[in-house]
């Protein structure tokens, strides 16, 4: 049954790539979203979403505030579960598995789908403890392996050189940009498959923003990244694909260049050119 599902997904992936034209490698689907609807109480926040997220790409979701882009992102690792008034219909498949399947535990999903939040949210612990928290949770106890993970994750987040001498110090002593990179390192430490980023640079200064943007380019070699951003230049700079959301609907989703230079929808063009939003 699952095998069939995977096959279907791959087929759809293939179709989708041909649709979008000049894509040479047949990207594999990570997330397959089908007829997704979400309500906060009576508020219809996501309407009939259908889109696929591909492996080793940076996928950007843009749109004016309140358009549902963050809500969609939080659906992918089921962070919306924490809000009791949420009601969902439709499906999201992660690597062929329905994430709403009751036998698929959110904790397991989140081990594969990491997340970086809008504001840096390190734990009030040492830098070291912040990073080993995830690996320890999932059963790694060996001190040597943990040390290795800390170094590799911090290097992966381009933070190692800045903090290597003060790993035992409280994470709250870091600057905002460093804290955000620590949170990225923390997400990398459990070796996820996908990293979701919810406006990760909106609370940061331009230099920290630049560092994190560069980071994303190197991270996509190993990870698939979905980023929600209100900054269109950022989306244009870093993403391979862009989805434009408006009022809970996905208006247009395509290769980034197409969205920014040859959008097929009037509303997308208006948003891109800054006529509203």
């Amino acid at each position: 049954m699952q095998a069939v599902q995977v096959k279907i997904n791959q087929k759809m992936a293939f179709e989708n790539t041909t649709d979008s034209g000049n894509e040479t490698k047949a990207a594999r689907i990570v997330f397959h979203t089908k007829d997704l609807n979400l309500w906060y109480g009576a508020d219809h926040a996501l309407k009939n979403l259908n889109l696929n997220i591909y492996e080793n790409e940076v996928t950007a979701i843009i749109g004016p505030s309140g358009c549902g882009k963050s809500t969609y992102l939080k659906t992918l690792n089921r962070m919306n579960d924490l809000i009791s008034s949420v009601r969902i219909t439709g499906d999201v498949h992660y690597r062929g598995r329905n994430i709403f399947d009751p036998t698929y535990h959110v904790e397991e999903l989140r081990t594969s789908v990491g997340m970086v939040f809008q504001k840096p949210n390190p734990f009030p612990k040492s830098i070291y403890e912040n990073i080993v928290y995830g690996p320890k949770l999932h059963g790694i106890k060996n001190k040597k392996i943990l040390d290795e993970i800390v170094e590799r994750s911090l290097r992966g987040a381009a933070l190692f050189d800045e903090v290597k001498d003060r790993l035992k110090e409280n994470a709250y002593g870091l600057s905002g940009g460093q804290q955000q990179r620590l949170c990225i390192a923390r997400a990398l430490a459990i070796e996820p498959d996908v990293i979701l980023m919810d406006e990760p640079t909106s609370a940061l200064d331009p230099i920290s923003t630049l560092k994190i943007e560069e980071l994303m380019q190197s991270l996509k070699q190993e990870y698939s990244i979905v980023i929600v951003t209100h900054n269109m230049q950022q989306a244009a700079r870093i993403s391979d694909r862009t989805a434009f959301f408006l009022n809970g609907e996905c208006i247009e989703y395509d290769v980034t260049d197409t969205i920014f230079y040859r959008p097929s929808n009037q509303k997308t063009e208006e948003y891109i050119t800054g006529r509203f939003g």
Binding site: L82, M115, N121, H138, Y172
Partner: protein, 310 residues
């Protein structure tokens, strides 16, 4: 209303206001006087305790008082006033109470802040408040007439007056305050930090124990210290069910006497005004005041000093 009439009314009002100026000006000093009553109360308490305890220490040596372990004030010849007999009684009951109340209070706090839905919380919290609002004499009645006989079924050697029963009931009494203050401390931990743990695949339990609890630790410890302070100062439960045998040591199954119970014992007896017995309750009261005061200051110090800046 015509404009002219309106204006004349305002003028009349302003005129009347001038008369009220002295009144307006007298309010601030008046309120200052009211506010200083609370300061006077504290000064009164300290002054009273020290002055009357001074009379007591004219008869008894301070050294014997703070080092002695025998408390036999009713002996006609050579009465002994060693405060440790009463302090150990107080601590025996307090230790039982806090050992009982701390894990339960904390469990309730974790349940309310990390697991319960808003709806469940809205039902449970007022019920905890009811428990906190029950007069202590009611708990005393409950300890003596219900909990002690019940415990005697389990431990036949338990005497009618003992430390265990009032200790447990005192625990019940302080659970609501531990639960609610600890819950406040845990709720104050930002949701973002919890989400950080959830996003790494942590279960609610793991996030609660490994992330939220350490972050809220100072508030939780402060709530416990405050609870200890309240337990030390509690009177009616221990008076009714604890007994009046000031024995030094930790004897949960036997009759004990706390500092507070001693004060009640002397107050309900016929100690004459000016007798050593009469003054002794002030010396005991001063010790009690000192213990609780230090605990309260300590509790506030912890919650201020170690508060995490999120």
């Amino acid at each position: 209303m015509g404009e002219r009439q309106y204006k004349s009314e305002i003028r009349a009002h302003l005129a009347s206001k001038k008369k009220g100026k002295w009144f307006e000006r007298s309010i601030s000093p008046l309120l200052t006087v009211l506010a200083s009553i609370s300061v006077l109360t504290t000064i009164g308490i300290v002054f009273t305790l020290l002055k009357e305890a001074y009379h007591f220490f004219q008869e008894t040596s301070v050294w014997d008082f703070i080092t002695g372990i025998e408390w036999t004030p009713f002996f006609a010849s050579d009465p002994k006033y060693g405060i440790w007999a009463l302090v150990s009684g107080t601590f025996t009951i307090t230790v039982i109470a806090i050992l009982f109340a701390a894990p339960i209070g904390l469990a309730i706090a974790i349940y309310l802040s990390e697991y319960a839905s808003d709806k469940v919380r809205r039902i449970l919290k007022p019920i905890l408040e009811i428990l906190a609002g029950i007069p202590t004499i009611v708990y005393g009645y409950f300890a003596l007439t219900f909990v002690t006989p019940l415990l005697q079924e389990v431990f036949p050697e338990l005497s009618r007056f003992n430390a265990l029963s009032p200790g447990l009931v005192l625990g019940v009494m302080i659970i609501p305050s531990i639960a609610s203050l600890s819950e406040d401390a845990m709720t104050a931990v930002p949701q973002a930090i919890r989400q950080g743990a959830y996003a790494l695949g942590a279960t609610r339990l793991e996030a609660a124990i490994q992330v939220v609890l350490p972050a809220a630790l100072s508030g939780i410890v402060a709530s416990m210290v405050l609870a200890v302070s309240r337990a030390i100062g509690e009177t009616m439960i221990v008076t009714v069910a604890g007994g009046s045998s000031p024995n030094f040591g930790f004897h949960p199954m036997e009759s004990v006497q706390t500092m507070t119970a001693y004060i009640v014992q002397v107050s309900t007896g016929d100690a004459g005004y000016g007798s050593t017995l009469y003054y002794s309750i002030y010396a005991v009261g001063f010790m009690l005041f000192l213990f609780t005061f230090v605990m309260n200051i300590f509790s506030r110090y912890i919650s201020r000093k170690f508060r995490e800046e999120y």
